[in-house]
Every structure is written in C-alpha cells, then in structure tokens.
C-alpha cells in the first residue's frame, strides 16, 4: 500500500494505491468516497474493501476529491465538475498502475453518483458498483441540512449556523447548486459493461437506477441495514459490513475475472 499525490499539479489529489497481493488480474479498481461527514465515517469500510480487492488480485486506488481529505484545496471551493475530473484522473492513474485499460469503479453514496457520471463521460468502464447511491441530489441536500439542524439541536444548541454548512463541512451555495442538479436519472444508459447496485440503507426498496436493464447487465442486491456512512458513533467505532464487502469482491471477480 502506497500513499502518493497525483493528477494536475495545481490541484494534487491524495491517492492510496493497493497493489495486487499475489497473482494480478491486470484490472484497476477506483474507489469513490462519499462527501463530508459520510466520507469520514466510511473511511474504514472502504479501506477494508480496498484491502480485500487487493487480496483478490486487483490494483486498487482510493483517492480524495479536491477540497476533501488530504487532497489539495479547501472544502469551500469544491465543485461537482472538479470532482468528476478528479474521478477521471483516478481512472487514468489506476490504468497506468495496472498496465491495462480494464477498470472498475466502486462508489458509495455521493461517490457512487459521481462514479456513474464519470463512467458515462469517460467510457470504457468494465464494471460499476453503486453502493447506496445518492439518486437525487436535491433530496440529498435537503437530508444533509435536516441532519445538520438535528445534530445542532441535540449536541450544540444555540450554535450559529447558516445554510452554507452541513455536519461540520462547508456547503457553499455553488456546491449546493451543483449537488441539487445532480441525478442518477441523467445517466440514461448503463455506463459500464456490467453493473452491481447494492442497497444497505434503512429502506426496503430495491435500488433504482436502470430498472429496465437486463438482469445479466445490472445485478441488484439488498443487504441487512448497515449504513456505514451514518454510523452515529463515527469517532469511537466504525462499521465494516463484511458480508457486503465480500459480495462486492466476488461480483467483481465474475465481472472482471
């Protein structure tokens, strides 16, 4: 495992490369993180997913978007267009590392939405895994703001707070506008050879995108609720849904053998 910076030197991105352990499948996997508080809480399960994929022979790249994590930039200057470019840069990087054009994207929450859009834009993506994807950006922003208000009410009553922050992170009007305009519906066709849509939230509906797609192209699977990105005790402990992670690794092994 190696940490490094990559991409445009004016806005370097932090990447963590997990090379294959044992025989290489000569396929790269890019893991796309969620946003804000969800990013922090999901760090551990996504690291664990990367480790399991690496054990299974994949080149795995986790990375932080501009203005997030250890990447350059401040959260207040982040834009969705930039994050899509960052995802594209990560695809280029993992292809270089694996020495092969074969690539899969795995995204959680907003990371899944960005992965689908990036796959549509870049083309040539072999497999796409959407894990509890944000399907409608406007609803997502409303949920974040409601969760923020509730958190302050419960934990910091009377704290001054405006519309441009959610759960400890800036949400400037520019980014909120970008997110509100983001929808999985805009990705009309399945943007990969095969896709896996995974649900592990509190709902019971099967994840929505591409309902008319052939089951041989889009597989859907719901797991017992384990919303790793919501885990309220995020600072004390984190959730690692082993069964879900193993399923994703197994599915990728069949989609990108």
């Amino acid at each position: 495992m190696k940490p490094f910076y990559f991409g445009d030197p004016r806005r370097p991105l932090l990447g963590i490369h997990h090379p294959p352990r044992g025989a290489s499948r000569r396929t790269g996997v890019v893991i796309c993180h969620p946003f804000g508080q969800e990013y922090l809480r999901a760090h551990r399960p996504l690291r664990e997913l990367a480790a399991r994929l690496s054990e299974a022979g994949y080149h795995v790249l986790r990375f932080d978007y501009h203005g997030a994590g250890d990447s350059a930039g401040e959260a207040a200057e982040a834009r969705v267009e930039g994050w899509l470019e960052d995802t594209g840069a990560a695809i280029v990087e993992v292809r270089e590392a694996s020495g092969s054009p074969r690539v899969a994207l795995v995204g959680l929450r907003l990371g899944a939405t960005l992965a689908a859009h990036a796959a549509q834009r870049m083309g040539g993506v072999d497999a796409l895994v959407l894990w509890d994807a944000v399907t409608e950006g406007a609803a997502y922003v409303r949920e974040l703001r409601a969760a923020h208000r509730q958190w302050l009410l419960d934990h910091a009553p009377g704290a001054p707070s405006g519309p441009e922050e959610v759960l400890g992170f800036p949400l400037p009007a520019s980014l909120a506008g970008d997110l509100e305009g983001l929808s999985l519906d805009a990705v009309a066709a399945v943007p990969a050879v095969r896709a896996l849509v995974v649900g592990s939230d509190e709902g019971d509906a099967m994840p929505a995108p591409w309902p008319a797609a052939d089951a041989g192209i889009v597989e859907r699977r719901r797991f017992p609720p384990a919303p790793v990105w919501l885990h309220a005790e995020g600072m004390d402990r984190s959730l690692v849904p082993g069964e879900l992670l193993d399923f994703v690794v197994g599915w990728l092994a069949s989609a990108c053998p």
């Binding site: 940490p3 963590i16 922090l40 760090h43 690291r47 302050l152 704290a159 400890g168 600072m235």
Partner: protein, 288 residues
C-alpha cells in the same frame, strides 16, 4: 506550501502527510504533529487537522499528520505491543522522521479526544515535546460527574418529554448492558492502560509543566470533558495559567468535535495563537 505523502516508522507502515512551508523554518521552531482522534483517520474530525496543519504551515511551521498502527491507512502492528505504548513509540518515530528530514529538534503535539490523551502520554515521556494542544481530552468519571453531565438536561423540557416517552439518554446510560460481563483476560490490561486515571493525567501535566512545556487546553463548554478540567486540571494549572505556560479556551455553543464552522474558527484561532507563542524564541518576549 508543499504536501508530501509518505510511509515511515520501523516497518515503513505508518502513513503520514508532511506539510512544508515555502522556506525552511528556523531550526529553533518546533514542528507540529497531529495525532488521531478516536478511530478517525489523520484528517481529523470534520477535516480539522488538515485545516490546522495548512494554517500553521502558512505561519512557517513544519507539520505532520499521520495514522497510528491499525488506524486510518496505517497497517496494524504485527507485534503484541499494547496500543498505549505503541502510540508513544510511533509518535516518537514521527518526530525522528522530521528530525532527520528537516532538522526539527523540538515538537508540538495536537490531539483531540483520545488524541489529547495520547499527546499527554507521549509528552510526559519524550523530552523533545515542547508543548501540547489538548482538545477535549478524555473525561474521567468522578464524584459529581453524572450531575455535571446531565445538569442541562434536567432544565430542558425536551429531556423530560424524552424521559416520559422512554427515550431518555439518562435511562440508556443507567440500563444494564448485555455486554457488562467481565472483559476477556487479554483485553483487560490493554483497556486499563488506554484510559488514563486522574492520577495519570495530573502526573503527565505536571511532568510537562516542570519541563516548561507550553500547554493549550481547548474545551467545549457543554462537553463532559470540561468536567475533567474543573475536577482534575484546574488546581494543577493555576500557576501555569498565570505565568503563561498554559492557556485555556472554553468555546460556547459547540459539541465535542466542533461541528459548527464558527466553532472550528475559534478552535483554529486558539491553536494558531498558542503555536506562535510556543514557537517564539524565549528571548523574544510576549510582545515580539
């Protein structure tokens, strides 16, 4: 400002990000290390370590934020060294790294929650530590703690409504837990050593103050951690607060992890002022 990602430590298994100021800092200026808060990785709660590291680097400090073994991106240790001892060893390895790569001789530690406990633990043992910012350190339950913790809830109609609906946090805290059985034999010593006692905390603070290290305590006024200050630290710090070896900031209307951005601004200002004062040559005086 330049940021570099690297692996360091005896087995090159610790992941760290070094932020370097545009021109090399004077050798006398301490470098700053950020320690993990809870299980969160090196960026810190609400990414505040990244913000602080970059702001301090703009002020001319060399900074390192890193993950202890088994946290964030660092591999777990393969030896049986207890975590409480591993954090001392690994923070020292972080200091060794900056000493050999940049010639740093003294260091400031910044830790929030368990990171503050670990900063005290390391600072009491490694004489290169010239100061520590202790943000919401662990709270040691003691006489009066329950009343202190729930004093605001007693006056809050919402708390009484939750109590009547059986959804009270107090009820949950008092309810016997199914996992209350004795800990596994192997886990017990480790768990004990992770949680400092009141005596540990007082001794560690005393060691640092005797060495004339600079301490900065930052609390959320509503947090149980502030009880620690009132019940453990206050009497040990009176002299140090007077002569400037220690600072105290109590921020209102925030939570344990400084979720409101306004609270993060207050936290950043407190840490910046403290670091600049701690990094000033002794002869420069307070007005320099």
């Amino acid at each position: 400002m330049k940021e570099r990602a690297l692996l360091f430590g005896a087995k090159k298994s610790l992941v760290g990000i070094v932020t370097e100021p545009p021109s090399p800092p004077p050798p006398a200026r301490p470098a700053v290390l950020f320690l993990n808060a809870g299980v969160l990785h090196r960026v810190g709660p609400n990414r505040v370590h990244v913000r602080l590291a970059r702001e301090l680097t703009r002020e001319g400090f060399l900074c390192l934020r890193f993950d202890f073994s088994g946290l964030g991106d660092s591999r777990p240790r393969t030896d049986p060294l207890p975590f409480a001892q591993a954090v001392v060893k690994e923070t020292s390895e972080g200091m060794d790294l900056l000493a050999s790569s940049h010639g740093a001789r003294t260091f400031l530690l910044v830790g929030m929650c368990s990171g503050a406990d670990n900063a005290l633990r390391v600072g009491a043992r490694d004489s290169r530590v010239a100061g520590a910012a202790l943000i919401e350190p662990y709270s040691v339950p003691a006489g009066g703690f329950l009343v202190y913790s729930y004093r605001k809830k007693l006056l809050n109609p919402l708390s009484w409504w939750r109590l009547l609906r059986g959804r009270s946090e107090v009820l949950r805290a008092l309810k016997p837990r199914p996992d209350a059985s004795p800990a596994e034999p192997l886990a017990a010593p480790e768990a004990e050593s992770l949680m400092p006692t009141r005596e540990d905390l007082a001794r560690q603070v005393g060691t640092l103050l005797d060495r004339r290290a600079s301490l900065c305590f930052v609390y959320s006024a509503g947090s149980p951690a502030y009880f620690n200050y009132l019940s453990v630290f206050r009497r040990h710090l009176r002299g140090a607060l007077r002569d400037g070896r220690a600072r105290l900031h109590v921020l209102e209307r925030t939570d344990h992890v400084f979720t409101p951005l306004s609270a993060q601004d207050g936290l950043a200002a407190a840490i910046r002022e403290w670091a600049l004062a701690a990094g000033r040559p002794p002869s420069a005086g307070p007005g320099a």
